[in-house]
């Protein structure tokens, strides 16, 4: 299963190495990782997208991360109400004739052209990963010269909707 896990860490040299080394050593497959500073001085946030086999593996992942002395807090936010964004830049082959066509494609995605040359345009898109995927697929036929994605960064929404707790129903009980 694909999980989004965030870790609040001390912003010290070697911490990223420590964390990714730990995940590699324990054979967790990282799809993407993004790191950046937070509102607190000296504290950074890492967002991992990981593919784990089952709940037990996931539990190990969060426990092992938590064990690190520079890790302050680990949260699996996959099932929460979250805001998750990824940024991608796509350099697409395009002559002036089809530039408008590309403009038409990217508009519904609220993407924008951030660089233009004689043979190419560079498109910037932000949003959920599947939206980024969809746009890339639409641009692919034109010929993609270069592509760069940041990986997902995410946190929980300010308001978490209350989910009513349903008692598991069983015919036997």
């Amino acid at each position: 299963m694909r999980r989004i896990v965030t870790a609040i860490v001390h912003n010290r040299s070697g911490v990223l190495n420590r964390v990714t080394g730990l995940l590699a050593k324990r054979q967790f497959n990282i799809e993407s990782i993004s790191v950046g500073r937070t509102e607190t001085e000296g504290v950074s946030k890492m967002t991992f997208v990981v593919e784990v086999e089952d709940e037990r593996k996931l539990e190990q992942l969060t426990k092992q991360l938590n064990k690190q002395i520079d890790v302050l807090k680990v949260s699996d936010i996959t099932d929460k109400a979250i805001v998750a964004r990824e940024l991608a830049m796509v350099k697409v082959i395009s002559n002036p004739q089809i530039r408008n066509e590309i403009q038409g494609i990217i508009e519904p995605f609220r993407a924008s052209i951030i660089d233009v040359s004689k043979e190419s345009v560079t498109v910037q898109v932000t949003g959920k990963s599947d939206k980024v995927d969809a746009l890339i697929e639409l641009l692919r036929p034109y010929g993609i010269k270069e592509l760069a994605r940041t990986g997902l960064t995410a946190f929980t929404r300010g308001h978490q909707p209350q989910v009513a707790e349903f008692k598991p129903y069983s015919l036997l009980k």
Binding site: N17, G21, K25, R56, Q60, I69, L72
Partner: protein, 572 residues
């Protein structure tokens, strides 16, 4: 006048190395295991100036030094402190660091590093020790500024010795240890990311109590967490309150008296039949401070298949890691046992279960053949046990001799058994005995080693010579890498690829060249003449004891098999 002023200035200022020495004195460190070199010269100069503050042990190879520190830590209950220089000095420590990590041994290791200005340039004797040791330390530091050195040292000792103990590396660039610092520096620290949970959740203790009352076939698995927490007395009280059978892990030996009626001995690959069957058949398994190593569990599919599992561990990541756990208790073993011991005990009925267990104990005990005059290793260990009245500190390497020592030497109290459990390190036993002896000068320390492992660190005989430490090195000499040979015999159709070593040094002469008395034993008669005398005197000794080469460790769980599928069990 001018000269006087400059002297005053010098005494008012301290180098980074002086700050380190002061911090070590603050931590009440009395013994250092270290090897000097270029990048730690300022530190060794500061140690020289602080003469008398530490007993410094110079091994002849850094690996010997760090294993000695592990032995010291195991027996004294205090952290072992190690110094190595940069590059090769640091990399020679790696085996010991990994060993301490696997067995949760508290160590603080100081490595020298090249000066900050040349880090990353492949400078002379530079190695990326932070990168190398990150996966095998509880934590590691590279000191970036002299002001943070005292705080880092304090943090390192705190992290190494609290919660689940482990090794912490502090890498100190040479310019930091030689820089002068005039101002007093603050060493207070706050580690928000490291707050080990030492007290159990009362609700979980209640659950354990309920499970104990309901259980018909309970068993306790005692791991080295009990030894680390100093919880042997609490364990005894717990076991007696509930009348529970107890089995221990390899590293948990001594946490519960091996000769007690409720003791089943060691469990696992070469554990006793009674212990393994109890683990297989139990309906409640209470694991206290063991990490369910694969050498203990065998095939997980067949491990305690019908049991409710309760697991007490100070490291939450260990709970549920290998074995699904219904009653998780994150706590120091001592605190958890104290709270369960406060509960009332009633309505217990383990009579049938205890009868089954006692039947297995008496009908399927450990066994071995007894030839007429040759020495079998099991008998040798029994004799060591007898001659030392079970009171020695015993250290071992990994392999056959280790398993025989675990099976046939019965430990009645903790901190007497020093062995490389998790990493299985050859060359560990002898240097570990040196550290153990330094930690406890009143006890007899016996390093039971194989002829293979001893040859990996035998240069440390120099320390015995230098210090006249009365360590007894007992080489269980079968002229083979015994456990490798056993596996080749069993699982590789007797293809003894590179496991028979019949060209060996003359261990007696080798010992004598280090001015350590050497003895050669090759018959039961010579053993009974020499061994009691040697074990009783206050001299160091190397005893080359020739044992039957073909002897194997039994009983055994073959790889991939479950605890109930032991081979080599003698049944009536």
């Amino acid at each position: 006048m001018k000269a006087e002023a400059s002297v005053k200035e010098q005494t008012a200022t301290k180098t980074g190395a002086d700050l380190l020495v002061e911090a070590l004195i603050d931590q009440k460190v009395d013994t250092l295991f270290g090897y000097p070199g270029g990048a730690v010269l300022p530190i060794y100069d500061a140690i020289y100036r602080a003469k008398g503050s530490f007993d410094h042990i110079l091994p002849r190879h850094e690996q010997g030094g760090i294993h000695a520190a592990e032995g010291y830590a195991r027996v004294s209950g205090r952290p072992g402190v190690v110094i190595g220089t940069s590059g090769p000095g640091a990399t020679n420590l790696v085996t010991g660091i990994a060993d301490a990590m696997m067995d949760s041994i508290p160590l603080v290791i100081f490595t020298g590093q090249v000066a900050k200005g040349v880090i990353g340039t492949d400078a002379f004797q530079e190695s990326d020790i932070m990168g190398i040791t990150t996966p095998i330390t509880k934590h590691n530091y590279q000191v970036q500024a002299i002001e943070e050195l005292p705080r880092i040292v304090k943090e390192a000792f705190h992290i190494a010795t609290t919660g689940r103990p482990g090794p912490v590396v502090v890498d100190i660039p040479k310019d930091i240890s030689s820089t002068v610092q005039a101002n007093k520096v603050d060493d207070s620290f706050h580690l928000p990311g490291y707050q080990p949970n030492l007290k159990p959740n009362p609700l979980q203790i209640n659950k354990l109590h309920e499970a104990l009352v309901a259980a018909k076939k309970p068993v306790v698995l005692a791991g080295s967490g009990i030894v680390h927490a100093g919880a042997s007395d609490e364990l005894r009280e717990f076991v007696h309150n509930y009348q529970l059978p107890v089995t221990t892990t390899l590293l948990g030996l001594g946490s519960y008296p091996g000769n007690d009626d409720l003791s089943l001995g060691m469990a696992g690959m070469h554990g006793t039949y009674a212990a393994n069957i109890a683990l297989y058949e139990c309906d409640l398994l209470i694991n206290i401070g063991s990490r369910f190593d694969d050498r203990l569990t065998g095939n997980l599919k067949h491990f305690a298949p019908s049991a409710t599992v309760a697991h007490i561990d100070v490291d939450p990541a260990e709970i549920g890691k290998n074995v699904p756990t219904q009653i998780p208790i994150v706590s120091d073993a001592k605190a958890a046992l104290q709270s369960i011991n406060k509960k009332k005990v009633q309505g217990l009925d383990h009579k049938n279960w205890m009868a089954d267990i006692d039947h297995n104990k008496t009908e399927c005990p450990l066994w071995h053949e007894q030839p007429e005059s040759e020495i079998v290793p099991q008998w040798l260990i029994q004799k060591v046990y007898e001659y030392t009245k079970g009171e020695a500190v015993v250290t071992t390497d990994v392999g056959q001799h280790q398993m025989w020592a675990a099976q046939y030497y019965h430990f009645d109290r903790p901190n007497r058994w020093v062995t490389s459990g998790g990493l299985g390190t050859m060359g560990y036993g002898f240097p570990a005995a040196i550290g153990a002896q330094l930690a406890d000068m009143d006890s007899t320390c016996v390093a039971i080693v194989g002829d293979g492992g001893f040859q990996m660190t035998m240069q440390e005989l120099s320390i015995l010579q230098e210090r006249r430490l009365p360590v007894k090195v007992l080489i269980v000499n079968n002229q083979a890498l015994g456990m490798v040979r056993q596996w080749q015999e069993k699982f590789y159709e007797e293809r003894y690829s590179e496991s028979i070593i019949d060209v060996q040094p003359d261990f007696v002469k080798l010992a004598e060249s280090y001015q350590v008395p050497g003895y050669y034993i090759d018959s039961q008669k010579s053993l009974e003449e020499v061994l009691p005398k040697v074990l009783a005197d206050d001299q160091p000794a190397v005893i080359d004891c020739r044992v039957l080469q073909k002897e194997n460790v039994y009983p055994m769980i073959a790889p991939g098999k479950g605890l109930h599928e032991m081979i080599g069990v003698k049944k009536p």
